[in-house]
């Protein structure tokens, strides 16, 4: 440095020394750029990897291996006077036996294990729905059990040693026989959306979780939307600037950053133990979620109110509107699209929230969809949590599928928000 840039001496910009310096400087420049690129590639690569691996493990849960079996219930000796207690098991087993021919008793059990153990109940429910099926032979769709399902989908390889898979060689032989007879097919798994939770992967579905999430979000919206907007209007348009309103503002900013599990503790201590509200209910879930979304909603609404130019306020006041009329007739209706966008985005965040729901018991095992906000239920993310903890292999793919469904809902909500923003956004 000192040799080339001493004050007063001429700098020879073309000297080798300078060339080397320039080269080093440009290299440093390119390095920095490359580091930035690497950081972005790392983050986005991780995202792609996340979604890719979930799709790879999850897409198989969108089909389910089923056996279509003809059962002639008129031949079975069913006690039709009491549908609930009739011998459905015997009837179903008889029909299953007809599919494969004579088997020794031990192999018969292995064969029955290929089908879901709830098959008799499925047949019973179908018959109760349509009693005509008692009279004539009709076909029933029976889901295969988890190991059989995994095998047909190729998750369990034939080449694995028998001792290391959950399906025996003779069972594989039986499946091959069923396949060659055309009994087995893999249609779209509507049960994933229509059934509630079950201990058996082949029957477990998301209906309970989806309706639980729906009710919770409804409660959350019904509480946080009016209160959030009212608070934002008050703070933005009416509140005097003093220490108390400052305190409220700091409070709101802080609440937005309080860990969600703390809100769960609040819900547990106040709503469940204090007020005795029903545990695991969408009511309490929605209340807790609304406390969490409230700060964000207030902040978003304030920003959008601030964006409405003051000329509109002055014009409204000028023609004699009261302050309330000015706000509700003009400012709020102009700010509404942005407020709705913010509300949808914060609801989307509430939809993905899990931790507080665990603390108020929305991770219970519940086999029927809730019929209101007081019934016990789960929500989509807590259902994912429950399934992720289940040991059966079928639940791995189902968890991924549930995640894909949840992400689908999130994308849908965000798409609506973006659409609203672009459709109604106004530049002043």
């Amino acid at each position: 440095m000192s040799t080339t840039a001493v004050a007063g001496t001429r700098v020879n910009w073309h000297s080798d020394d300078m060339k080397a310096r320039r080269k080093a400087r440009y290299a440093a420049e390119r390095r920095l750029q490359a580091y930035g690129m690497i950081a972005i590639i790392f983050a986005l690569g991780f995202l792609a990897f996340l979604i890719g691996s979930l799709t790879l493990t999850g897409y198989k849960a969108f089909t389910q291996t089923v056996a279509t079996i003809n059962i002639d219930l008129s031949k079975a000796e069913l006690d039709t006077s009491d549908m609930m207690k009739a011998d459905w098991r015997g009837a179903v087993r008889e029909a299953l036996r007809n599919q494969i021919g004579d088997l020794p008793r031990r192999q018969e059990k292995a064969f029955f294990d290929l089908f879901t153990s709830s098959a008799p109940f499925l047949v019973r429910d179908a018959v109760i729905k349509d009693p005509a099926r008692l009279k004539a032979p009709s076909s029933f769709v029976i889901p295969m059990s988890d190991p059989a399902d995994q095998f047909v989908k190729g998750e369990i390889s034939r080449d694995t040693p028998e001792s290391q898979r959950r399906i025996s060689d003779e069972q594989i032989g039986m499946i091959d026989q069923l396949v060659s007879k055309g009994v087995i097919s893999s249609p779209f798994n509507w049960a994933l959306f229509l059934n509630a939770d079950s201990r058996f992967p082949e029957l477990a579905g998301l209906a309970g979780a989806i309706s639980g999430s729906f009710w919770s979000l409804l409660v959350c919206f019904a509480i946080s939307f009016p209160i959030g907007i009212a608070a934002a209007i008050y703070l933005e348009e009416f509140a005097p600037k003093n220490r108390f309103t400052d305190l409220i503002e700091i409070n709101i900013n802080n609440l937005a950053a309080v860990p969600s599990v703390v809100f769960g503790l609040l819900g547990l201590a106040v709503f469940l133990n204090g007020f005795g509200l029903p545990r695991s209910s969408p009511l309490v879930g929605g209340l807790v979620l609304s406390l969490m979304t409230l700060p964000t909603l207030i902040i978003v609404t304030r920003v959008s109110l601030k964006a409405v130019p003051s000329s509109i306020r002055e014009a409204a006041l000028g023609v004699g509107a009261s302050k309330h009329e000015m706000i509700f007739h003009h400012v709020l209706s102009l700010a509404m699209p942005t407020v709705m966008t913010g509300a949808i985005i914060s609801l989307a965040r509430a939809l993905g929230e899990t931790a507080p729901l665990l603390l108020i018991g929305m991770n219970a095992f519940i086999t029927s969809p809730p019929d209101g906000i007081f019934a016990a239920s789960t929500a989509l993310p807590s259902q994912i949590y429950i399934w992720a903890d289940s040991p059966e292999r079928g639940f791995v793919s189902r968890t991924s599928a549930a995640i894909l469904v949840l992400l689908g809902f999130l994308i849908l909500m965000n798409a609506i928000a973006i659409f609203l923003r672009q459709r109604f956004e106004r530049r002043w």
Binding site: P259, F275, L359
Partner: protein
């Protein structure tokens, strides 16, 4: 049932609004011929009548519902023979049983006392519901009557409606304070119960966290160990790993996106990065368990390090990825806040873009970036689902990232899941941990928000 009650209230309010409006119209037309002009439009008279009808009644209903079950419980327990001598754990068990019996869920034949208490409970519940409905309808009727009675041309219905609306808005903005008071109150209240059983000093300075021992109070050695230090240590190990991943990645990607990237590239990449923050954390948790943890384990095995299945490294790595967008967008803001002139001055002196970034932008934006890092750290400390699914349960003090550690949030969730009995130190410990978590994140947030705000105004 209660849903229908509120529907009835809404219906009553609509009816009151309709007739109030009609009456106001009638009054103002008859008055129109004289010299008195109505102050408010009929709609305001109607709204006013609706407010009088519905608001007092719904406040009454909400209060009644909030306190009904605890009052009923108290009454039932007071009449239960021998309940005076029981401690609160036994009482809560008892009331649970009585409620189950009253709801008709019989698991075994109830004792005569319990059956009698259940009958008592059921009659009290019916009685309370009828009483609530009777008082509620009285309030509705009185409110509707008063709301209709005040209608006159001179009555300032608009002012009265607007006052009510302002009142609602003021209440709404107080909700934030109420929530904070609720959080602090419930945490402190339950934590005090905990500290009555476990000394504060043991909690703060203890080196062993073994709450699982104290399941039963009368157990031999049933004290458990409630030293918070290993849990806090685990939290900071995982957060530190997460920050090691997130801080360089976040800052470097922000530098690239603000300074080098083509606007179109930025317009695509920035929202994609934001998706990382929008993915629910339960998804990250599942991903960490299913994919990342086995990969880390295999990696550890290949270099000869024994790795636990729930390694802190896997958890921290995934959490770090989740945090990248926070750091990236806050650094983005900080860079954007540096004035154009400083950048141009540096470039005009012949510095390359990279030198400008390193020597001018970075120092100028540093306080903002640090604020962002602190906010992200607070999020890492409070993050729950990733660690609940992917981190370990045993609290130990170790710096080995291949080892399993536990965190504050993991302990809170595992202590409280499926167990709502509020009388043993195990459950109450969760609230003490919650208090610690709240205070730590509150401190981090306050410092962060202050630095971000203070230095943003500097230029």
């Amino acid at each position: 049932m209660f849903g229908y009650l509120f529907l009835v209230l809404v219906a009553a309010a609509v009816v009151a609004a309709y007739f109030g409006g009609l009456r106001a119209l009638a009054v103002s037309t008859t008055a129109g011929t004289s010299r008195i002009k109505a102050h408010s439009r009929p709609i305001y008279h109607g709204l006013n009548a609706a407010i009088w009808t519905a608001v007092p009644a719904s406040i009454f209903l909400l209060l009644w519902l909030a306190f009904q079950s605890s009052v009923v419980n108290q009454l039932v327990l007071a009449s239960y023979p021998g309940s005076e001598g029981m401690d609160s754990a036994a009482l809560s068990l008892l009331i649970g049983e009585i409620r189950q019996v009253a709801a008709g869920n019989l698991f075994r034949q109830p004792t005569p006392e319990v059956a009698a208490a259940a009958e008592h409970l059921r009659s009290l519940q019916t009685y309370s519901t009828y009483l609530m409905m009777a008082i509620g309808f009285c309030i509705v009727a009185v409110g509707a009557f008063l709301g209709m009675k005040v209608i006159s041309p001179r009555y300032r219905a608009r002012h009265s409606v607007e006052t009510a609306v302002t009142g609602f808005m003021m209440f709404s903005s107080l909700v934030a304070i109420i929530i904070t008071v609720g959080i602090v109150g419930s945490l402190v209240f339950e934590a005090l119960h905990f500290f009555a059983r476990v000394p504060v000093t043991e909690f703060l300075f203890g080196l062993r966290w073994e709450p699982q021992i104290a399941i039963r109070a009368d157990q031999v050695a049933g004290q458990g160990a409630f030293g918070v230090l290993p849990v806090l240590f685990g939290t900071f190990v995982i957060s530190a790993i997460a920050m090691l991943v997130a801080v360089p990645t976040g800052i470097l990607s922000a530098i690239y996106l603000t300074e080098y990237a083509h606007p179109r590239f930025r317009a695509v990449v920035k929202p994609l990065l934001e998706i990382l923050a929008g993915v629910p954390t339960v998804v990250y948790g599942f991903f960490a368990v299913l994919t990342v943890a086995p990969a880390i384990r295999a990696l550890g095995a290949s270099v000869g390090i024994a790795s636990s299945p729930n390694s802190a490294l896997a958890t921290g790595l995934v959490m770090g990825v989740m945090i990248i967008p926070f750091i990236s967008s806050l650094s983005d803001d900080a860079f954007a806040a540096v004035p154009r002139a400083m950048r141009d001055g540096s470039l005009a002196l012949g510095a390359t873009k990279g030198e400008t970034i390193r020597k001018v932008l970075l120092p100028a934006a540093l306080p903002g970036i640090i604020g962002g890092v602190l906010l992200a750290l607070s999020r890492a400390v409070g993050e729950t689902m990733i660690v609940v699914m992917a981190a370990g349960l045993i609290a130990k003090i170790t710096l080995n990232p291949f080892d399993a550690v536990t965190t504050v949030t993991v302990q809170i969730v595992t202590l409280l899941i499926g167990d709502s009995e509020f009388d043993n130190p195990k459950t109450l410990a969760a609230f003490a941990l919650g208090l610690v978590l709240f205070l730590v994140t509150l401190g981090l947030n306050l410092i962060a928000l202050r630095t971000v705000r203070k230095y943003r105004e500097k230029y």
